[in-house]
């Protein structure tokens, strides 16, 4: 992939905003400049409207980008995502700063990739899956969620992946249990060139341990609370073997082996 374009501010229009599962929405935004510039794994920092109520921007991965639009998959957790869920088509009160961050890297000669998504962790994997498939990489997806209907982006994965194995907490789709048993099985059975991973931190750690064991390189996308999103405020730091890094510019995607998971994770809500 090419060197990322420098970030910019772009006003966005809501084209559609659909509830696709309990507490999960899919927002399609008209954002032509961002749609063209974004690379898989990058995110936008979204201002939710005027006023000082939810004053900070909110970071969201770009799930997909095509033509003049970008897609965002979001889970309603607090004031900001609630405000997002209330947006109607035609709303033009938001703007984005983006595309931001260091996204997924595709090592040369990658032919076989495993994408692992837990819950909304599937969001940043959508565009990646499409790009990999389009460039001839064989994509396998391991996906976990609480219930079948919260296996977001499943159709996208089914469309482009060679294989999609899922696990749900309640057994309503795929294996009953965590995606980590799926990944354990897949990593035992197949040799992947690279693993792309995003989900709750506890799940990320478990999968990273499996990757280490199988000596498969792994990239992981991390979430941190972010104020500026552009590298200036140091609110999003990640402890790594080479010191403190900023999730917003040095990440959100990191080499899994670099990351020192200290006790600094965001209290998991989802």
């Amino acid at each position: 992939m090419t060197t990322p374009e420098r970030p910019f501010i772009e006003r966005v229009d809501v084209l559609t905003n659909t509830r696709i599962a309990p507490g999960v929405g899919l927002m399609v935004l008209h954002a032509p400049r961002c749609a063209r510039a974004v690379q898989p794994g990058q995110f936008v920092h979204l201002r939710l409207g005027a006023g000082t109520d939810t004053i900070l921007r909110r970071p969201f991965s770009i799930h997909r980008a095509y033509q003049d639009t970008i897609e965002i998959l979001y889970q309603v957790l607090g004031a900001g995502t609630l405000r997002l869920a209330e947006k109607r088509p035609g709303d033009d009160s938001m703007d984005l700063v983006g595309p931001l961050g260091h996204g997924w890297q595709v090592p040369t000669n990658t032919a076989h990739a495993l994408l692992v998504g837990g819950g909304l962790g599937a969001a940043p994997l959508g565009m990646l899956a499409e790009h990999l498939a389009a460039s001839g990489v064989a994509v396998v997806v391991a996906q976990g969620a609480p219930t079948a209907e919260r296996l977001v982006a499943r159709e996208l994965f089914e469309r482009v992946a060679r294989r999609v194995d899922v696990a749900t907490d309640d057994g309503s789709a795929g294996e009953l249990g965590f995606v980590t048993s799926v990944t354990a099985r897949l990593l035992d059975a197949e040799r992947f060139d690279v693993v792309y991973l995003c989900g709750p931190e506890v799940m990320e750690r478990a999968v990273i341990a499996q990757c280490v064991q199988h000596s498969v390189p792994c990239q992981v996308s991390l979430e941190r609370l972010m104020a500026c999103g552009v590298g200036a405020c140091l609110s999003c730091v990640v402890s790594t073997r080479s010191g403190l890094k900023r999730a917003c510019v040095d990440g959100p995607v990191f080499d899994a082996e670099e990351v020192l998971f200290d006790a600094s994770e965001i209290p998991p809500k989802h």
């Binding site: 109520d53 004053i55 900070l56 104020a227 200036a232 140091l234 600094s264 209290p267």
Partner: protein, 308 residues
């Protein structure tokens, strides 16, 4: 009508009164994608200490009503790395903007050490002594909450430089005017205020503080009324210029600070909300002056009309 935007912080002439608030703008590089840094009145850098500081554990921020808490804790790579990277970058990419370095120390000696190291660096026009950081255990705010301690820091730093010394005051005090007078008496060239108000956020569900350090500094529009009041009090108490900040998001906010007595203003949290806030504020001040028939922004400074 062309508007004269120039202001002076003591011997330091600024092309306009819009500065950046320390810690919210790094050294400007991250914002160069969005604005022309050379248009700023001055860049105030993040806090710089003699040796690298790791800052505090995460989470380091929490959103609050019309504001945010931070407990970054002055994470910085130390003055040598700062000179090598930040100052070098600024000299190349923003040669026209005055750079004021925000100086931190665990001890009085560390403030002096940082200044001494920076004296030989070109491209630094002055220092802001941060005696008001609520996010470090030793030093920081402890220096800013008593006249004696605040005076000590300035007394020690004053002989180390001819460059202007701006002292950044803490709002977490009973009488900020008294502290301002104390640092003026020790030779400060200006004061800047306010640093953040000490605050806290609690997650009811987990019964844990939202910041790993428990307490942090409150900034943003929520604190603007407190900041305006303190700027007004301090401007009345000292004869040196005041740099006003706290919740500035718009030109109107900035003008309120000028009217209350600030000679210049700084944008902090506003940079996170909109990375072009500084320039929006600058353009807005100019436009406001033009449409209000104000020929020089200096006419606004301290022009508050009190009484009937």
């Amino acid at each position: 009508m062309s508007v004269d935007l120039r202001v002076a912080l003591g011997s330091l002439d600024l092309a306009n009164p819009v500065m950046t608030a320390s810690g919210t703008f790094a050294s400007g590089r991250e914002f160069s994608d969005f604005i022309d840094l050379n248009r700023l009145g001055a860049i105030v850098t993040k806090g710089v200490s003699a040796r690298p500081w790791p800052g505090n554990a995460s989470p380091r921020i929490a959103e609050t009503a019309s504001g945010m808490l931070n407990s970054i804790g002055l994470q910085n790579p130390g003055v040598d790395a700062f000179v090598a990277t930040d100052l070098t970058w600024l000299a190349q990419h923003a040669p026209c903007v005055p750079v004021i370095v925000n100086v931190s120390g665990h001890s009085v000696a560390e403030y002096v050490e940082v200044i001494e190291r920076l004296e030989s660096a070109s491209g630094v026009v002055g220092y802001e002594l941060n005696i008001s950081c609520p996010n470090v255990d030793t030093g920081g705010m402890a220096f800013g909450t008593s006249c004696a301690a605040a005076g000590n820091v300035v007394r020690a730093c004053r002989p180390a430089t001819q460059r202007p010394l701006i002292v950044k005051l803490s709002p977490n005090v009973t009488d900020i005017a008294e502290i301002a007078r104390a640092v003026q008496a020790e030779g400060a060239d200006a004061v800047s205020l306010i640093n953040t108000l000490l605050g806290m956020a609690v997650d009811a569900r987990t019964r844990r503080p939202k910041l790993s350090r428990v307490v942090g500094g409150l900034s943003g529009p929520a604190i603007k009324p407190v900041a305006l009041r303190m700027v007004w009090q301090v401007a009345a108490a000292v004869s040196i210029p005041v740099v006003g900040m706290g919740g500035i998001m718009t030109a109107e906010d900035a003008i309120e600070f000028l009217i209350a007595g600030a000679t210049a203003v700084a944008v902090g949290t506003g940079n996170f909300v909109d990375p072009t806030t500084t320039i929006r504020v600058l353009d807005g001040i100019e436009e406001w002056c033009r449409s209000s028939g104000v020929a020089s922004v200096r006419e606004l400074i301290g022009s508050l009309e009190v009484g009937a």
